[in-house]
Symmetry: C2
Subunit: 509 residues, 2 copies
């Protein structure tokens, strides 16, 4: 990874003095990805997806997207905007997508690589609501937005911000994205997601990230920073704003995560095979469009297949079907040599045992499947409608633990410790042995949140649940937060841009 010329670090990053954390570090996954589909089944799903694109087609609501697809060889029925692509054409188009690419943060030590064995954790993106134990569930505010982004900044295990953890509903809709981008670009030295809902929000993000990194549009194109989620409206529809966002991102060489959000039973058939086949068709047409716009544009195979509860219609997450759908999606992504995105999701309305076991199901499934981008990695609650302060801390613990599972077991003469075992002998203990004393401080994972004290000590100290302890932890992290250093000129440039653009938009309104 090449150093970014204008990223500065004046002093070491403070990250909540009293709360122990692992350092920021990039991760690779040493495990062979788990498979739930045979090689034949992968091909069956692939062929079904191509038949969906050939025979059924996708409704594309953006004119520019339709024109580009047609110019590349697709056919369109203008009466219903149904675009059909020949299988061979799809395969030809997607072949130019890079299997791996780097996103550049303003601090080059926070750069991330997507693809291959690399693993990136992002925070929650997109909720309208926010919740914590003190204030309850409520509409997101601008203060919440800033506080939540500060926590994302300070939590080292989170590699990347995900496009706004909550909706600051007290800001005007027309200019909200500018305040958000200004906050993200100054509070974080990590990469962050921009919005994908049209060309304007992409253009504003490009301007701001250029100011933050001090790079030109050409440099940004060569060394991209931004990433956004492009959702299809399943089944088989790409809306106008999303298609414009996709085109703007690909034109600028920034990364798109092509993510059908497919709930089996509602937006796809109930069978997992069909859900994956349809998801795959929708993802492939988006991937193809990025490559039509710009050959070699960075793109991630997004997957978000879960199911609805057929009795209530409620979406379910972190279920067995979710896990198998994720692992199958990873297999499809690898078939196309594309980086793969999955999520850390739960349907629970509260930060309880269900929230934890559903999130663990989702995270383990993703990890075992070889995920590259674990989007919604920390903070998601209630099917993604709410960002929870306490869930953010629970998830940070879950992600830290997973990151340690990926570290190798050292086996050598010293670690095998035969001499120490012989010295202590039967019936002794190892607390005072030299072998222990040389290693004990770093031998084991140290948690952020877990309480391992005995029952009496735990009870005497207030008998707090993990969620109640998480409440104390995020408040302490917030109190102790110091933003990462940013050049004064960059900060002023971003503030000026945000102010100018807001005035422009307000004047037009």
């Amino acid at each position: 990874m090449t150093a970014d010329p204008v990223a500065h670090r004046r002093h070491p990053r403070r990250t909540g003095g009293g709360i122990p954390q692992l350092p920021f570090r990039t991760l690779t996954n040493p495990f062979t990805p788990l498979e739930v589909l045979s090689a034949d089944h992968v091909e069956d799903i692939h062929r079904t997806s191509l038949r969906i694109l050939e025979e059924v087609g996708v409704e594309v609501l953006g004119d520019r997207a339709v024109d580009k697809l047609v110019a590349a060889g697709a056919t369109v029925d203008r009466s219903n905007r149904r675009v059909r692509l020949d299988g061979a054409l799809v395969e030809e188009l997607i072949a130019t997508a890079p299997p791996e690419f780097t996103l550049h943060a303003r601090n080059p030590e926070r750069n991330v690589v997507l693809g291959g064995r690399h693993l990136v954790f992002s925070s929650v993106g997109g909720p309208a609501f926010v919740t914590d134990l003190d204030r309850g569930r409520r509409a997101g505010t601008w203060q919440d937005f800033q506080d939540y982004v500060a926590l994302i900044s300070t939590l080292n295990v989170i590699h990347q911000e995900a496009g706004g953890p909550l909706e600051p509903t007290d800001l005007p809709v027309e200019t909200r994205h500018l305040d958000e981008y200004g906050c993200l670009a100054t509070t974080l030295d990590k990469t962050w997601h921009c919005l994908g809902t049209g060309a304007t929000v992409v253009e504003d993000a490009l301007e701001i990230v250029e100011l933050a990194r001090g790079v030109s549009r050409e440099e940004l194109l060569e060394r991209p920073s931004l990433i956004t989620i492009i959702n299809t409206n399943s089944p088989l529809r790409l809306d106008g704003a999303m298609s414009e966002g996709l085109i703007a991102m690909a034109e600028a060489g920034q990364a798109v995560v092509a993510t059908p959000f497919t709930l089996a039973g509602a937006m796809t058939p109930v069978t997992l095979a069909a859900a994956i086949a349809q998801q795959n068709a929708e993802a492939l047409v988006c991937v193809a469009l990025t490559q039509i716009v710009r050959c070699g544009a960075p793109v991630v195979y997004g997957a978000f297949t879960s199911n609805v509860d057929m009795r209530t219609g409620s979406p379910a997450f972190g279920t067995p079907e979710y896990v198998k759908g994720a692992i199958a999606s990873g297999q499809m992504a690898r078939r196309y040599r594309l980086p793969w995105r999955s999520s850390n999701a739960t349907a629970s309305s509260v930060v309880d045992a269900q929230a934890a076991y559903e999130s663990e199901m989702a995270v383990w499934g993703a990890m075992m499947g070889g995920v590259n981008l674990l989007y919604q990695g920390a903070g998601w609650l209630e099917g993604g409608l709410t960002a929870s302060y306490e869930k953010l801390i629970v998830d940070a613990e879950i992600l830290q633990m997973m990151s340690e599972v990926l570290q190798p077991v050292v086996v050598d003469e010293a670690s095998l410790g035969l001499d120490a075992i012989a010295e202590v002998g039967p019936g002794g203990h190892f607390f005072g042995s030299a072998h222990t004393l040389e290693r004990f401080e770093t031998a084991f994972y140290r948690p952020i949140l877990s309480d391992w004290r005995n029952y009496e000590t735990w009870a005497d100290d207030g008998a707090l649940t993990a969620t109640q302890r998480a409440n104390r932890i995020w408040k302490q992290l917030l109190r102790e937060f110091v933003p990462p250093p940013l050049d004064q000129s960059a900060a002023e440039g971003i503030a000026d841009f945000v102010a100018t653009r807001k005035r422009e938009i307000e004047r037009r309104a």
Copy 2:
């Protein structure tokens, strides 16, 4: 599996009318086991374990065990009861242990196979305390014992009981095991663990299980029912009662789970390699002893390596080190072609997010490592000191979900659903399509505990956490519990035996 001639089922088993459950079913794990050790590292650990047994030796406190080991070729220093075994001797002795065996329940449909790809979930075993939301944490009672065993009986996902979920401290210590066995043999038609603390408690279990199944000692030897945990006192000590229990079980052809309980930093060096090498040495000497007693006796490679918090000395469970230790242990067990036991463990004092994420870590690690017996599968809390009624339900949900992850994804023309996708087309939905209507009732996993309703509905219904809902569920299961059918003569025989033996023991006291 051969049908047991005297097991009877008069009518289908009722299992808590109102609570949805998956049926009782045996499980196999389709996934290639995860590895954290290279093949060379497995051999390094193996060789270190043999050197521990050759050079350091194991302190064996039981006279019969010492004599049997010496007769088989071990040496002993009688001054400190240190038994040393040559590596070649260890390898020769353990080679006769069966890679796979069946345990026979009184209902043959509840038989379980240990080894190979087979996967068995057992309930919590051994806690002194019990807890629930209504009555709090307290010493276990005989009423609790019976209630908890009824829940284990009624929860289909639990294949096997684990030797008493809690200590009925209001019963006399001397005769307690007889009441426990009587309860287990009559309340469960599943297999169950007996105690391994000496020959007498094993002999009583043999008598009771013979009465329950209506088989002779010879038939029981050929088709075993019982299983027990034999713990070493790490480091490197086998106590007298455990060695007598091991011998009695092996003589009767019943299964032993040879389980060193090794907390790195306290009972082993802090390094994972040393902890596994020492655990392996301790497990191997127990496996060897079973085979000396009876060539081909069923034995499971038990592994319970975790670590202590080096700041407080508290044991930690479900940590990254625990997961890697478990997976490494599975690799060692497979090297010796032995069934492998791991656990579902947490250090949390309360049924909260921590309890769930630590349990999920332990369960996923075990499953991915290819575990055969997931002991402590449901109900364990607080480092195993407490059996929780609510945790039992949380774990039953976790295990049900894992059991569904193991089920194959069906990919065929019908499940690929191209016609349904074509029929609905872009922008539609699948709720009413024929493809959905034919399949929706069984398409997705139906939870015991998870609440997927939207926030408003959930809040209007009392805003209960998963733990609070679990409290309602175990009470309903208990209210609706009907014991599985048992021959009147068997029930009377067991009651007579328990009464007679209790009188004998009381007279002697």
